[in-house]
């Protein structure tokens, strides 16, 4: 175990902005990619011929 407590962990030895900026943006990119693909799949299903006539989606 490297850390004295939660505050020390979050401070990352003074490099918090750099370390969490890296991990945060990476995680955000991955989550965004999954969200966008889920929406794209749903849109692709909706765009199929005849799909619009189905009211119960």
């Amino acid at each position: 175990m490297n850390w004295g407590g939660v505050a020390a962990f979050l401070a990352m030895g003074g490099y918090a902005g750099f370390v969490w900026g890296s991990y945060g943006v990476t995680a955000a990119c991955m989550v965004l990619e999954i969200v966008l693909l889920t929406a794209r799949h749903r849109a692709a299903l909706r765009a199929l011929p005849g799909a619009a006539s189905r009211s119960a989606y």
Binding site: N2, Y15, V19, T26
Partner: protein, 248 residues
């Protein structure tokens, strides 16, 4: 006794679509488990670096993202080339499905590198060989995607994309060997196939686990995007009309 599996069965979009749907959750589960394990080692087991303090912990996502950015490009070029040579639709679709994820990994490698470079080198960016060739990789991904988006006929878009993908492959060994061929600010490889790693074992294990997690993630999102592409391109075919998912 020989087991006959018809591998060519899965080279058709109609039979790969449901298979991809079944496989996707498993790759996400593998990515999550490896990612949690890797992050635990990265933050709680791997010791503080003697020179760089805690800032070095960026390595656990920087190196896996950089590896994936190059690896995905090679895989993308391979499938684009197969599609070009054998006129197989699914191969070309796989290439198209890989490009945005490859671009995202390239962006992450550049972003985390920048955030690591500032505290360690004192600058966000330098035009050295490693950084510049990685930036060119990002533009190659963008070029591939833009070219495909600009051509209406999907099969022509596949062919044009394949040419740019195959030409761009030359950039991958340039990125990889840039730290050897030129004097760069970027450090040399910490891990290579020819010599033992120049880093602590726990750091190495954390990095490899994160790399595996990124790999599994990339496969999962590639499969998701492939399913979208298949549906969008094959919307008028009979098998799509009979698709169970469409039933309310």
């Amino acid at each position: 006794m020989t087991i006959n599996i018809n591998w060519f069965k899965y080279s058709s979009p109609a039979s790969f679509y449901p298979l991809a749907g079944k496989l996707t959750p498993w790759f996400f589960v593998a990515a999550a488990l490896l990612g949690i394990w890797g992050a635990y080692i990265s933050f709680f087991v791997a010791p503080t670096d003697a020179q760089q303090g805690e800032a070095y912990r960026i390595i656990f996502i920087h190196v896996p993202a950089a590896w994936m950015s190059m690896f995905i490009y090679v895989v993308m070029a391979f499938w684009a080339g197969v599609g070009l040579a054998f006129n197989t639709r699914l191969s070309s679709m796989v290439a198209s499905a890989l490009a945005p994820t490859g671009a995202m990994m390239t962006f992450v490698a550049l972003w985390t590198g920048s955030l690591w470079g500032k505290p360690m080198w004192g600058t966000w960016w330098v035009w050295d060989a490693r950084l510049t060739s990685e930036l060119i990789l990002l533009f190659l991904y963008f070029g591939f995607m833009a070219l495909q988006a600009a051509i209406d006929d999907p099969r022509r878009a596949d062919k044009a994309g394949a040419v740019i993908a195959l030409v761009g492959v030359i950039n991958v060994p340039i990125i990889y060997f840039s730290v050897k061929w030129w004097n760069t600010l970027h450090q040399g490889a910490s891990v290579s196939l020819t010599k033992s790693p120049s880093m602590a074992t726990t750091m190495l294990v954390g990095m490899l686990l994160m790399a595996l997690a990124f790999w599994m993630y990339s496969i999962a999102v590639m499969l998701m995007r492939l399913r979208c592409i298949i549906l969008e391109r094959e919307r008028n075919s009979d098998w799509v009309k009979d698709l169970k998912e469409r039933q309310p």
